[in-house]
Each structure stands twice: as C-alpha cells, then as structure tokens.
C-alpha cells in the first residue's frame, strides 16, 4: 500500500515542477521606484538561497509533488514559503489535491485571495507543528498542539494513523527541516 503511494508521489514530481515554472510569471512589486539617486536591491528570504546539494526542505519536497499543487499554492498565497524553508523543525500534515477537492466548491479559491491571508495562514498553521513527530511516535489519543495554537488528536485504527478522526496519513516523507505526513483530508479546526 505504502509503496503505491510512494510511486504515485514520486511520479508526480517532474510534472509538478514544470507547473511551478510556468506559474512564475508574476513580477515583483514595490520598491522598484526608488529615487534615481539611490540604488535599490531586492532581497529574497531563506527560500531563495541557492543550494542544490543539501537535502531538500519541506517547501522543496512539497513543490515537487504533483499531488500537492494546491497546498503549495496556498503556502505561496499565505507568504509562508520562507517560513517553511526555515530551520524548523516542523511536522507538516500535507493534504493532497484530492483532499482540498473534498472541500465545498470555491473554498480554496476564496482562501487564496489576498484579503483572506490571515484566515489561510491560520488554516495552514493548523497543519504545522514545531517539532518532528515520526510515525512511530504517534499514540492513540495523543493531543498535538499546532502552530496556530489549536490542538489535533491522533487516533490509530488497525495500524492506520488518523488526525482528528478524519484525515488518514497515507505517506510520509522526511525533509531537511522536518517531516511531511501526507493526509487525505484537510484539517478543519472546530472553534
């Protein structure tokens, strides 16, 4: 079972990457109209560090997955690319595109709008814990506090791990700054 997921995940990488290249047309704004007497230099964050040699971080791994284009788009819309490129360590529950598709129609499109950035960040932070939880560290009934301060509950049924009873871990990928657990449903916090 796990092997199948793995191969699907990997097969998606090349295409996913191509899509990202194509989506790179938008130009940077602001600060380009500095007075002519002043030289202006635009700086990128940690995600812009050129490093082809190190193990890939969470953003790079997720960006390489065809099954996570929605998540990656959301991370970009929330301006969280640099955050998740940081030292971490993070545990990210990464919903697949199919998981996002299960949300009511229009939900994602609404969330990625600039005016909903804070709400989107809150949802993304509910998928991120600042610690590395390897699969064998999950226990039935375990409560994990997430980056937005909300809690998720782990349950284990027949050897399968569920988050908040609804989202199942269907694959796990280590990264340089943490670990990604691929899940089949988006986590929605009950507030």
């Amino acid at each position: 079972m796990k092997k199948n997921i793995a191969s699907i995940f990997v097969m998606g990488l090349a295409m996913g990457s191509l899509m990202i290249i194509n989506s790179c047309g938008s130009k940077t704004e602001e600060n380009t109209s500095a007075p002519s007497t002043e030289e202006s230099t635009e700086l990128g964050g940690q995600s812009a560090v050129k490093d082809d040699d190190s193990q890939q971080d969470i953003v790079k791994v997720a960006s390489g997955s065809k099954d996570h284009t929605t998540l990656v788009a959301a991370i970009k819309a929330a301006e969280y690319v640099d955050v998740l490129s940081n030292a971490g360590p993070f545990t990210v529950f990464a919903p697949t595109n199919d998981a996002f598709n299960k949300l009511p129609e229009g939900t994602v499109e609404t969330l990625v709008k600039p005016e909903n950035k804070d709400k989107l960040r809150d949802i993304l932070e509910y998928h991120v814990a600042v610690a590395v939880y390897k699969t064998d560290m999950f226990k039935d009934g375990q409560i994990i506090n997430m980056a937005n301060l909300g809690n998720v509950k782990i349950s284990i049924k027949n050897g399968e791990i569920f988050i908040n009873e609804t989202a199942k871990i269907i694959g796990t990928v280590p990264s340089s700054n943490g670990i990604i657990h691929v899940i089949d449903n988006v986590l929605l916090e009950k507030k």
Binding site: K2, A6, F9, V10, L13, A14, S17, L18, I20, I21, S23, C24, S26, T28, E30, N31, A34, T37, E38, E39, S40, T41, E42, L43, G44, G45, Q46, S47, A48, V49, K50, D51, D52, Q56, V59, K60, V61, S63, G64, K76, E79, V81, D82, V83, N86, A87, P89, D118, R121, E125, V130, A131, V132, N145, A147, L149, G171, T172, V173, P174
Partner: protein, 670 residues
C-alpha cells in the same frame, strides 16, 4: 527512518532536483522582500579616525567570550576573554589568570556565554560593568568597563545550565542565576545517585540572587530559592512599580526527562514565574534562610596585584517558597515561553511562547491585584498559579511564528524577534497591534536596541543576531560566520542598513552610548601602584632567583629589550616562572613574550602590568625568547636566549642584558 521512507526520499532527490532547482530559483519569492536603498551606506559609515556612537557588547555563545563592536559601523574592536582560555592574551594560561577559571570541578577552561547584562542605576545604564553568564558550568562573570577585563567570576552552587542569567535588578543590587537543567541538587549529598526516570521526585530547580557591591562590584551568592524541577529559561528584573520583582520564563512544566523536543511541548501553557525578591530579603533578615552545604568557587582579579585568587566557599542560604508562600507566583504563559522582557515603564511583562503564534503581555498592576484577591487557578508543585485572564494585559495576535525576545525603543513600541518566520515585528505596547515587520537573514535569535532593556532606551537602531547565514557572505566551507544585522528604527518603518560578521555564536547583546564608557577607559596601569608579588619596577631590580628546582625570573620589558635577555645556569628538571613587568607608561604599548617549546601560550603584558609564564625546558640547549607584539622599530631586535644544561651540571646561574655571560656577566644591569 524506515526503509520505505529512505526509498521515497532517494527517489525524490534523484528525480526531482534538477527541475525543482529551476522551479525555485527561477521564482524567487515575492515575500519577504526589502529594498536596500543607497543611503544605507551613509548611515553606517564612520569616517576613518572617527568614533562610533555606541559600544555593542555581544555574547560569544560557544566561544565563552564577549566581543565589542562599534555601532553603527559594525567594526570589531576587541574580544574580551571571559570563560575560555585565550592564548593570544595568555588568559587562563598566565599564572595570574589561571585561578579565574577555577571551579568546584577544577580548572574549567571553557564555557558557553549567552547573556550580557550592563550594570544600571535607577534602571539606566551607568557604564560600570558588563555581566555575562556561563551556561555549562554555572558561573557569572563581571567585566570592568574601565579595563575591559574580566575581574570576577563566581560559580553558582545547586545549579545546572545557568541560562536565565545574569539579568539585573533596577539598581544592580542583584544578578540572577537559574537552573535550565533541573537535577538532584548538590546539597542533597550522597542521595544524588538516583535513576533519571525518578525526575519528578528527585530533580529540583533553583534560582539564585547574587548580590553586587555598589562600589567594588564584588559578587556573593546572597540566597537561593528551592523550586520545582522545571526549566528556567530567561529572566528580567522589574523596574519602576515592579522594581521589587523578578520574572523568569519557565518551560518543561511537563517535568519530562527525555525527548524534550516533544515531551516538553505537551501543555498549552507553561509559566512566567514572578519572584518578590524584597520579600525574600525580609525572610532572610528574619532568619528563615536554611544553610545548605555546597562547594563553589569565587575568583577575583585585582588591578593592583595583577593577580587573581580563587576561594572555595562551602555554604549557601536557601529559602523554600513552598513553605513561605508569598515569594513566588506562577503566571500561565502559552507554549514553552523563551523571552521574558519588561517594558521601560516596568508595567508590562512580555512572554514569548516560542511555539506560539501569539505574544502574551502581562500587566504588573493586574498581577498585584490578582495576588491580593487570591485569584488562583490552583497550585503547581506547591506554588500558587494565578489565573491567566486575571494577569493578562492582552495578546499580540498573529505576530509571526516563533517569538523569542523583545526589546523596546522608549517610544511605546516593542520589537520582537521571530525565529521561525525570520523577522523582527514592531508592535504597540498599549494597543498590542503590529505596526511593522522586517525580514532578517536568517532566523534571528536575540535582538538589541541601545538601552533597549532599560528604563530609558535610546532607540535609533535595532541589531539582529541571526542563527543562520547560509548565502549571506562568501562561503568558508561547512562552518560559516555568524552574523548580525543593523536596522534603522528612527522612522516609522524599520530599514536594513548593514550585515556584519560576529565571533562565536552571538546570543544576547547590549548596546550603550559611547559617552558613558569612553572617558573612563584605562590607558595603562601605573607602575608605582603595581603590587604584584613578583613585580620588577626597574631594570636594576631584574634578577633570577633559584628555589630548589623552581627558578623565578624577575624580568622587565621596555622598547626594545628584555632585562635579563641572556640567562644561563638553567638545568633539565627546572621549572621556570617568567614574571615580566612592562615598564612602559605610555598608551597602547603592550609587549608580548614567547619562548620556544612553551606548552601553554604567550603573554601580552599591558604597560605597568606584571604577568607570569610558566616554562619547563624539555631539552638541553639554547632556547630563544622574543616579544610578540610589534612595539617599535626595533621590535625585531627584542629577543633573548636561555641556556639549558643537563641535570646535575655545574653551569653557574648568570643573567644580564648588554653583556654576554661568557664575557663574565655582572649580576646587575645599570
């Protein structure tokens, strides 16, 4: 990592890297971005020969030292040796400085120095001393701002991991120390041999109040509080209305003893601990302190004798706040708080839950009212816990991820470093709204505003001390330079001005106006005041004295010779002590001393100072010695020889300068 995970990972790296590279580098993120404008250079440019406006005292982290930079130029002036041996100055190698590194563990030549505390009077910088903690083998050091030298180091008993230190009370009455690592305390004697998993029962923490003499600066462990086995992280003294209180951030209230990465992050809230140290003083005065048997070192360096002493102390006074209920209170604080900072007015205490996406701000007035009303949610290990809502001024919502430390500009704004989201966030203390944010490169830890932790901040700049530099400088192999960044905060928006590299790993730092320090700086030591037991105050007093196999060389140096510079009659098995006095009485003319085969280091001897290098010859022959600090046009001529003869040989003891021993050297030199 399981096999399947490994496979997945390898496949991903093998197939995806080339394309991902294109994808990510071709698409530099739009945020965070910041323009560096052309006037940045102008704002940090200090013309040749001109002085910086501020001194910046920066902890060296794992270097164990303190470095001194100029702000705004970012120029490094000096690395002050503190807890680590420093071969370039002879610190910890010279006979005079060795006792400074003595502890109950013996000679302890390294530590991890994290936090700077500049002495204050009425909550404002007074320019007298720099205090710095030793984290690993718990110690506090005091550095003189006249000589920029470490004058005193005191070990902290019943302590492990002295992290929440050496922060000060408003008038520098006390420096504090706290246990980051709880453990079976020293005074428990033989019962400290316990299973690690008996943590909850046997592991305890302490915080210590170390008194500081107003005139001499001399330190003493005045009293300790015996506390539950949680981790004390950072601390700040109150000021103004809260001046009698001290605040400590606490984590691991889960009392975990393994995999704290996960096990100490379970609870929604840990604590800020409030300590009424005035009340503790009253209990001590009333004889409530218990004497505990311990063993700790107190080391003091004297500018008069140019030597240091190490004294072992055997007793400490302790108070039990579980018994004496009105000294210590806990305020719940979200998610493993790290920074614990008090605003200039002393009215607000800022907790920074490092895993939280909010910054709670506590009100001192509300805390006092809640204590009076006994507004407790219960007790933790016998200590009352106040209700969160009853002590809360408010929360800064969604400031960023990983808030660590907060400094203040004196204009009503707080600046909090965000490790995970790699930024400084500026917010309004009264209404708790975020007004500006600026990225740091990368992953900021501490930050410093000149006077930022005092009652009267100077504002103007905030300096970020970053944990990661990656591509910011020319690479130097796997180990890269550490880095600081200066931002202009004189306007509404923070503006990045300059990156500058730092020594060790900078943790906390403080900046102080140069005018408070510069006029007091010692230029040289007066030779007539030199009370070193082996001082040689003139060349005619130079001599070599044999005491059994110990040979004491009373040596002088001045441009450009040593007296004596030829010595004979030394034998294998002798131990030599070169007591070298620098006779110069002129600014910036140190001399150095090195001898071939020395197994320790060189000496750097300041004008008017005496320093001693121990040397045990290991072979028969003639060894050269020379001055290592370029002192004059004839520096290269400043040298000498020592003849070492076989053990039992009859070579007579002779010394001098200007005539060779073979020519019938006189014992004295005119």
């Amino acid at each position: 990592m399981t096999t399947i995970h490994m496979k997945i990972y390898h496949l991903i790296t093998a197939t995806a890297v080339p394309l991902l590279l294109l994808a990510l580098t071709g698409c530099a993120p739009k945020n965070p971005t910041q323009a560096i404008t052309g006037d940045a250079a102008e704002k940090v440019y200090v013309a040749p020969g001109k002085h910086d406006a501020y001194y910046n005292f920066v902890s060296g982290g794992f270097s164990g030292q303190v470095s001194v930079y100029g702000i705004p130029s970012g120029r490094l002036f000096r690395v002050i040796p503190v807890f680590s041996q420093d071969p370039q100055t002879g610190w910890g190698y010279s006979e005079e400085s060795k006792p400074m590194l003595n502890t109950s563990h013996g000679f302890t030549p390294w530590d991890d120095s994290h936090h700077i505390a500049l002495s204050t009077t009425n909550g404002e910088h007074d320019g007298k001393w720099v205090f710095i903690n030793g984290n690993n083998t718990p110690r506090i050091a005091r550095i003189s701002l006249k000589t920029f030298r470490t004058e005193e180091i005191i070990e902290i008993p019943n302590a492990s991991g002295n992290h929440s230190s050496p922060f000060l009370t408003e008038n520098s009455e006390y420096a504090v120390a706290g246990t980051r690592f709880s453990f079976p305390l020293d005074y428990a004697g033989e019962t400290v041999d316990v299973p690690i998993n008996s943590y909850k029962k046997n592991f305890k923490g302490t915080v210590s109040f170390v008194s500081i003499n107003k005139e001499s600066g001399n330190m003493a462990v005045a009293f300790q509080l015996l506390l539950p086995g949680i981790n004390f992280d950072l601390s700040r003294g109150g000021r103004g209305p809260s001046k009698d209180w001290f605040f400590f951030s606490c984590y691991n209230t889960e009392l975990a003893n393994t995999l704290l990465e996960v096990n100490a992050s379970q609870k929604d809230k840990d604590f800020i601990m409030a300590v009424n140290w005035k009340k503790a003083e009253q209990y001590i005065a009333a004889g409530k302190g218990k004497k505990l048997n311990v063993n700790y070192a107190h080391n003091v360096y004297s500018d008069e004798t140019h030597t240091s002493t190490s004294t072992m102390l055997k007793e400490v006074l302790a108070l039990d706040p579980i018994e004496l209920k009105d000294i210590v209170y806990f305020m719940p604080c979200p998610k493993s708080p790290h920074g614990c900072d008090v605003d200039p007015s002393g009215k607000y205490i800022v907790g920074s839950g490092k895993l939280a996406a909010l910054i709670p701000v506590f009100s001192f007035d509300k805390m006092i009212a809640a204590i009076a009303a006994k507004n407790f949610e219960g007790e933790f290990e016998g200590i009352p816990v106040l209700k969160y809502e009853s002590v809360l001024h408010g929360e800064v919502k969604k400031p960023g991820l990983g808030p660590l430390h907060t400094e203040f500009d004196g204009k009503g704004f707080a600046y909090t470093s965000m490790f995970v989201s790699s930024e400084i966030v500026k917010w309004n203390i009264e209404n708790l709204t975020v007004v500006d944010r600026v990225p740091t490169y990368y992953s900021i830890g501490h930050l410093s505003i000149p006077g930022g932790p005092t009652a009267k901040p100077h504002g103007q700049y905030v300096i970020a001390y970053n944990k990661i530099t990656k591509d910011r400088y020319l690479p130097t192999g796997p180990e890269l330079t550490q880095s600081a960044q200066i931002y202009d905060i004189s306007g509404e928006k923070m503006k990045l001005l300059l990156d500058f590299p730092t020594i060790g790993e900078p943790h906390y730092a403080e900046a102080i106006p140069a005018k408070l320090v510069e006029p007091n700086s010692t230029k040289f030591f007066k030779i007539e005041d030199n009370k070193h037991p082996y001082v040689t105050k003139s060349e005619k007093d130079a001599k070599v004295v044999r005491q059994g196999n110990q040979v004491h060389v009373y040596m002088t140096c001045i441009r450009s010779h040593f007296v004596p510079d030829n010595i004979e009659g030394i034998k294998m098995g002798d131990v030599l002590y070169f007591h070298i006095t620098n006779l110069e009485q002129d600014w910036d003319v140190p001399h150095g001393f090195a001898i071939k085969g020395a197994n320790n280091a060189e000496l750097l001897i300041m004008p008017g100072e005496t320093a001693t290098l121990k040397w045990s010859p290991d072979r028969v022959g003639v060894s050269a010695m020379y001055c290592t600090d370029f002192c004059s046009a004839l520096h290269q001529e400043m040298q000498g020889y020592i003849r070492v003869s076989p053990a039992g040989s009859s070579t007579p003891l002779k010394w001098g300068t200007g005539e060779t021993p073979e020519a019938g050297l006189a014992a004295e030199v005119k």
